[in-house]
Structures are given as structure tokens and as C-alpha cells.
Amino acid sequence: MTPLLEVANLNIFFPQASGESTVPVDDVSFTVAAGELVALVGESGCGKTLTGLALPRLLPRGAEMGARTVIRFRGTDLTSLSESELRTYRGRRIAMVFQDPMTSLNPVMRVGAQIAEAIHAHRKVSKRDARERVLALLTEVGIADPTSRIDAYPHQLSGGMRQRILIAMALAAEPDLLVADEPTTALDVTIQAQILELLDHLRATRKLAVLLITHDLGIVAGRADRVLVMYAGRIVESAKTARLFSHPAHPYTRGLFASIPRLDADTTRLTPIGGSVPRPADWPTGCRFHPRCGAAIAHCTTHRPPLEAAGPDQLAACWVTQGMTK
């Protein structure tokens, strides 16, 4: 069975006038099956957001994709399509939801009109049918009293409701894949719980595939089918969620788990990862995690580790877990 989305050798770089170019996403490959929720986890600057933007080819100005990059959606390589052909995928098949629900909405346009616009962009419908459809979407995303909210402006709604509006806009064209980039990071925890519950509900009712981009392993647990862990532009570990949480293989993944405060911890101290997240210009050679890694050996400083099996349904890019010593 072919997956819904297949990304192979995704390279994103910013060519500089000086000839030196930074490569914030370096040879990333993964798949998302129909109806699957895959989490892409990493810290700021690891390239996870650019990876999400690359799927419908919405990269920022100045960014380019490598020649070997393949983004296959239902068997079609999106990298070979023209801009006009891409438009049938953007929003229509691959929809996006971003972190900041205020800046993603037009502040001077009623939210109902914004959702209607998303419907009109992909289908010819009458004004009245569109309004009916907007009301149905508002109800589906859990907006209480949709008939009055449909004519509200974004600033009249709370952060949680604005995020629901954005999700409604994303759903307007009945996409197959939803790319959600930190959809709950700007929200309070009790509101975050509401939005996550909504995502779970939509996935169950619509058989929607989701790529959930986040820094928070907590919201991944018990929600994602598989997890991809990104560090400094590369995927360092990829596994089924239960496996990743019970047996994290890569030292970075293990370090992340040790850094997170837990409600059932017995001690007061956490075990941090030393150093700080490097900027793309300072990314080290070999394994990019080696300067912060307690297990690093000499080989790690010079040779890039491949992503190889580290357990059942689990890949890790680490020389040490692959059995290399000294």
C-alpha cells in the first residue's frame, strides 16, 4: 500500500550571496499513511516548521529545495508540479494550521466570511450554501452558538475560539492531510486540552491524516501513531509512539525525556542536556548532537550516523546505539 504522503531526501537551504549556504533541513525522509497521526518533535530552530511548510511548497522567500527532494502525495511528486497545478493541492488536499491564531486570521474580516472564502477557493457554491456550510463547520469544530459567532471579528473571540476558526478554515476544502504547526503552543493548558480533544475527534470522524509539529512530547503521548524526533535539521529517531516512550534509543530523545518535569517524579532535580541548541551556522560535523552527548565517541565527531533499526518499529541515527564502541 502506498502511503498518503512520502517525503524523501528533503533538503531545504538558503543560498547566500557569499556562496556559503545554510541547510536548515538536511536530508529528511518520512511517510504519513492515510488517517495516521505522525508527530514531528523538536526544539526551536531544528527545522520542523520548514519541513511542514515544504509539503505544500510554501517555503519562505530565499529558501530552495534540493534536486533530490521528492514529496509524493497520493503518488504525485509535488516537486515537479507547476504553481497552478500545486493550487489543487494547497488547502484542498493539504491544509495547514499555525501556532498563532491571531496573526493567521485577517483582523478586519468577519470569521464567517474568512471560512466562506476558503470554501469558495476550492468549489463553486452559492452564497447561501456557503453560509450553511460555514455554520456546519463551526458546529463541527465546537464553536458554541455558531449563528452569532459567524459574524464576529477575530478580536472578539478568545484564543481558543480563534484556533477553532482556523481549524474550520483548514477543514473547509475537505483535505486529506492536516499539517498542524504548534497548534496549541500559544494557548493555556485547559484550552490546549480542548483543542487537542477536537483534533482527536476530527481524526476519528473524518479519517484525517495529521502531521503534528510540536516541541512538546507531552501532547504526543497517547495521541500520535508514530513520532519523528528532529535535531539540528535531521531526523535522529523515528518510532511507534509506545516504543519511543518506553525505549527511547537516541541519546537526544533520552535527554529530552529526562528534561521534562513529570507529575509523578520523586526527586526535585531534572537531568538536563548540557550546552544549548546550536544555530544552523554553528552546526557541528559528524553527528550534530555529539557536543552535547554524554555517550559520544571519536567516530561521532566526524561521521554522520545513518538512520538504522534500533528496535521493533524504531530507527535511530546514532553510532553508539548501532553498536559502535571506542
Binding site: 526544539e43 526551536s44 458554541a144 478568545s158 481558543g160 475560539m161 493555556d188 493548558v189 485547559t190 484550552i191 490546549q192 486540552a193 480542548q194 487537542l196 480533544e197 482527536d200 516541541h215 512538546d216 512530547l217 507531552g218 501532547i219 504526543v220 503521548a221 497517547g222 495521541r223 509512539t241 509506545a242 516512550f245 535527554g255 529530552l256 525525556f257 529526562a258 528534561s259 521534562i260 518535569p261 513529570r262 507529575l263 509523578d264 517524579a265 526535585t268 532535580r269 531534572l270 537531568t271 538536563p272 542536556i273 548540557g274 544549548s276 541548541v277 552535547r292
Partner: protein, 321 residues
């Protein structure tokens, strides 16, 4: 024994700003908040945005004037101090901010920022200041040579350490930590948290640790106060409160903490709706509009519950048991 800090019936109201604001609209940021902190103790103050937790932190340091209520530091009512006396007392109480990018003056070197307090209080002769700055930077885990660099040359975690060094320079006994790690990457948060714990032990510091992350507060605080819409709804020993919360809001808050453990499942309690606006709070219990307690009744809507002792902590709920 006199506690290091005591806050009694603190109230802070703001007039709603802007030329087009409704006349007389008042934001009730903090309503009747009381607590004490002992020497060497850490009180965690948790709540969501708009709960008033940051305002409490500022009012405690008298960076904002409370509308009503008394803040005592070592028994002295801060309101009775002259501006000069208050400035002298500031040596004893400090603050660490959330945003490591905005909390340092971009135009001054790290050394100048750390030395600021030493200069203000004339704690050392001028020529001894660089040496002291170097010691402070090393105490927070930074290279002494960083004193000559500017803030933009550092990562978020390093800047947060610089902010901590600046606060430590004046030898305080009490520090308000206002979300000190929430802007940092996960892998760096733990470093800064451990640093704060080390400093607490080494210098016998007291913290008012303001955070939205219940799990974090459970790890660092001795006691915790949970705020909702300007009031404390539950206060007590951190693990007593967080491991077995009694107030329905605390229960929902703890349940909503995303835990990196698939066997724990997802949030069991998902609250409906949004918190009410602090300019128009409900009468009676502030949580009444979202409460799911099976015994919720007309009394909750009419009468504001006061804190009462339940199972080793104080809870502001008519029906908690």
C-alpha cells in the same frame, strides 16, 4: 516567628485604558490574595494567562502599587517606606523575568548589566566590581570573559543565566521568578531550573515561583498557590495539592498537563469554554461558569467561597471535601 514575606488581602484593579474604552470599566486583576513565604521557602504560583499571577509578583515587589492590601517584608509594611528607603530594601528582593530577549538592555554589555546593582548600592569600590562580576558569572555557570559581550551574542538559556546573575549581585534573600524557563527550549529549561535549585540551597533563597506549568512547580516548590481569575482557589504543600487536588479547577488544570507517558492517556477532565474576562467576573465563585462539580448549585453563583482547610490544604470551594 515573622515570615520573610507576607501578603495580606492584596487587591489590584486597573482602569481600562484607551480613549474608546467603556467609561468606568475596571479590570479586576487581583482580588483579595493572601499568602506568606518563609525564609528558604519556595511558593509556586500557578495559573493561566489572565489569572493575575504576574500582577501579584509585581505588586509584591512594589513595582506596581496595590489598590488595597499590605505587603510586609521581614515585618515591614512596604507602603510605609519612603522612596529612598524602598530603594535600599530592593537589595533584599529581586526579580527574574520570563523573556530572556527583553530582560537585558541590548545596548549595554553583560558586565554592565550585572554590575548595575553593585553600583547603585555602592556595594564595592569601583575597581573591585569587575572581579565580583566575574565571580557572579561563574556562579551562574557562565564564562567570566562574557562580561565584555552584548546580550545578542548569547542563547536564551545563557541570557536567563545573566539575568539571574544580575539579580544575585545585590545579595537578595527573596526572588520573584516570573516564568523563568517558559521561553526556553525544553533541553535548556532543566539547566536553568537546576541552577535556581542550586542557588536556593547555597544562598538560602526564598522564591515566589510564578509559572503556568503545574508539573514544573511540583518539582521546584515547597508550597503551591493556584490562581484563577485573580483569586487563590487552592493553596498548600505542593505535592499534597498537585497529587490530589481538591478544587475542581486545580483538578482540571492538573489533568490537562500533557504528560510524556502514553499509559496515562490524555486529559480526563476537559473544561468547557473560556475563563470569564477579569473586567466582568461572575458573582459568587469565580469558577462557577466552568465548574463541573456534581454539587454545584445556586449558592456557588451567589456566594464567593473563602479558603477553608480540607485534607491538609486550603480550598476556596463550598463543596470540596
Amino acid at each position: 516567628m515573622i515570615p520573610l514575606l507576607s501578603v495580606e488581602r492584596l487587591v489590584k484593579h486597573y482602569a481600562q485604558g484607551g480613549a474608546f474604552a467603556r467609561r468606568g470599566a475596571v479590570v479586576k486583576a487581583v482580588e483579595d490574595v493572601s499568602f506568606t513565604i518563609a525564609a528558604g521557602e519556595t511558593l509556586g504560583l500557578v495559573g493561566e494567562s489572565g489569572s493575575g499571577k504576574t500582577t501579584v509578583g509585581r505588586a509584591v515587589l512594589r513595582l506596581e502599587l496595590p489598590t488595597e492590601g499590605i505587603v510586609r517584608f521581614e515585618g515591614t509594611d512596604l507602603a510605609t517606606l519612603s522612596p529612598a528607603e524602598l530603594r535600599t530594601l530592593r537589595r533584599r528582593m529581586q526579580i527574574v523575568f520570563q523573556d530572556p530577549f527583553a530582560s537585558l538592555n541590548p545596548r549595554r554589555t553583560v558586565g554592565a548589566s550585572v554590575a548595575e546593582g553593585l553600583e547603585i548600592h555602592k556595594m564595592l569600590p569601583k575597581r573591585e566590581i569587575p572581579e565580583r562580576v566575574a565571580e557572579l558569572l561563574e556562579e551562574v555557570g557562565l564564562d567570566a570573559a562574557y562580561a565584555h559581550k552584548y546580550p545578542h551574542e548569547f542563547s536564551g538559556g545563557q541570557r536567563q543565566r545573566i539575568g539571574i546573575a544580575r539579580a544575585l549581585a545585590v545579595e537578595p534573600s527573596f526572588i520573584v521568578c516570573d516564568e523563568p524557563v517558559s521561553a526556553l527550549d525544553v533541553s535548556v529549561q532543566a539547566q536553568v531550573l537546576n541552577l535556581l535549585l542550586d542557588l536556593r540551597d547555597a544562598r538560602n533563597l526564598s522564591y515566589l515561583f510564578i509559572a503556568h506549568d503545574v508539573a514544573l512547580v511540583r518539582q521546584i516548590a515547597h508550597r503551591v498557590a493556584v490562581m484563577y481569575l485573580g483569586t487563590i482557589v487552592e493553596i498548600g504543600p505542593a505535592r499534597t495539592v498537585i497529587d490530589a487536588p481538591k478544587h475542581p479547577y486545580t483538578q482540571a488544570l492538573v489533568s490537562a498537563v500533557p504528560q510524556p507517558d502514553p499509559t496515562k492517556g490524555t486529559a480526563r477532565i476537559v473544561l468547557a469554554g473560556d475563563p470569564p474576562s477579569p473586567s466582568n467576573p461572575p458573582s459568587g465563585c469565580p469558577f462557577v461558569t466552568r465548574c463541573f462539580h456534581p454539587m454545584k448549585d445556586s449558592r456557588c453563583a451567589a456566594q464567593r467561597p473563602s479558603l477553608r482547610l480540607v485534607a491538609g490544604r486550603d480550598v476556596a470551594c463550598h463543596y470540596a471535601d
